[in-house]
């Protein structure tokens, strides 16, 4: 039975990851940079799931082995949630301190 080629999922995943990297490099708003990091994490999730699905269906690995992908995705989601909470807290703290949220102008660590 023919389905969607695996290359389509992986291609979309690669495109999302690359766009996230470009966004982290070129944007200045830290909130948008966080969104781009979320984008990269989601791209990796998509790659995990499509490979898990493909390995289960085409290579015929056991169900237990095929669950590795979804488990990793669940852990990535949990880590992303914690990261967003702490990161947005840091952004709030910096904003209260400096009244400025441009990542190119923030140099708190220079003292």
């Amino acid at each position: 039975m023919n389905g969607v080629p695996l290359a389509a999922y992986i291609g979309l995943s690669m495109f999302m990851f690359t766009t996230g990297v470009v966004g982290v490099v070129i944007r200045r708003n830290p909130i948008v940079i966080f969104m781009c990091i979320e984008l990269m994490l989601n791209a990796v999730n998509l790659a995990f799931l499509s490979f898990a699905r493909y390995r289960y269906a085409a290579d015929g690995v056991s169900v237990n082995l095929a669950m590795n992908g979804p488990m990793m995705v669940i852990f990535v989601m949990a880590v992303a949630a914690a990261e967003v909470a702490v990161g947005l807290g840091i952004i709030m703290a910096i904003y209260r301190l400096k009244e400025e949220v441009d990542v190119d102008e923030i140099n708190l660590i220079k003292g």
Binding site: A7, I10, G23, I26, A58, P70, M77, D102
Partner: protein
């Protein structure tokens, strides 16, 4: 296939749009389309978790912070970062694509299968094989909660 185009468009929208609110909305759209893609991979449990965690919790957090800070539009100065970033991204995409995609061109994901992403199997794997990472992740989330409360409550002198 029909979903990949809008997803890519929303991805570009996150990066390219001027205001943070607009890129947040593009991101919500992207997360929903990703959830539908997960459904098409017959990963129902993960798709529903994606909608609840990302499109629900995380994006509400983003919107809340955007609303609280109300950052005036940072004027994205046209400088050396834009062309260098685009060039770098293009190079990365070319490199990854040339290495990965040709190998996968012949591999198809079968259209309709079942069982692999059902809540039963996910729960079984989560509470047997992966019970230790599960506990570690719960500890991590606890640390994250405490850390964010600490960051939010601290009074600046």
């Amino acid at each position: 296939m029909m979903l990949a185009g809008p997803a890519a468009l929303a991805t570009v929208g996150v990066v390219a749009s001027k205001s943070a609110v607009r890129s947040a909305l593009c991101l919500v759209f992207n997360f929903f389309i990703l959830a539908f893609l997960y459904f098409s991979l017959s990963m129902e449990m993960i798709g529903i978790t994606q909608i609840m965690v990302y499109a629900g919790a995380i994006m509400v957090l983003f919107m809340f912070v955007i609303m609280l800070l109300n950052p005036k539009l940072i004027d994205e100065k046209k400088d050396y970062k834009l062309p260098i970033g685009l060039l770098f991204g293009l190079a990365l995409f070319m490199l990854l694509g040339s290495q990965i995609l040709p190998k996968l061109m012949t591999a198809n994901v079968p259209a309709m299968e079942y069982e692999v992403g059902s809540p039963k199997l996910v729960g079984e794997a989560l509470f047997t094989t992966y019970v230790f990472p599960f506990e570690v992740v719960s500890l991590l989330l606890l640390v994250g909660v405490v850390g964010s409360v600490f960051l939010a409550k601290r009074r600046t002198p």
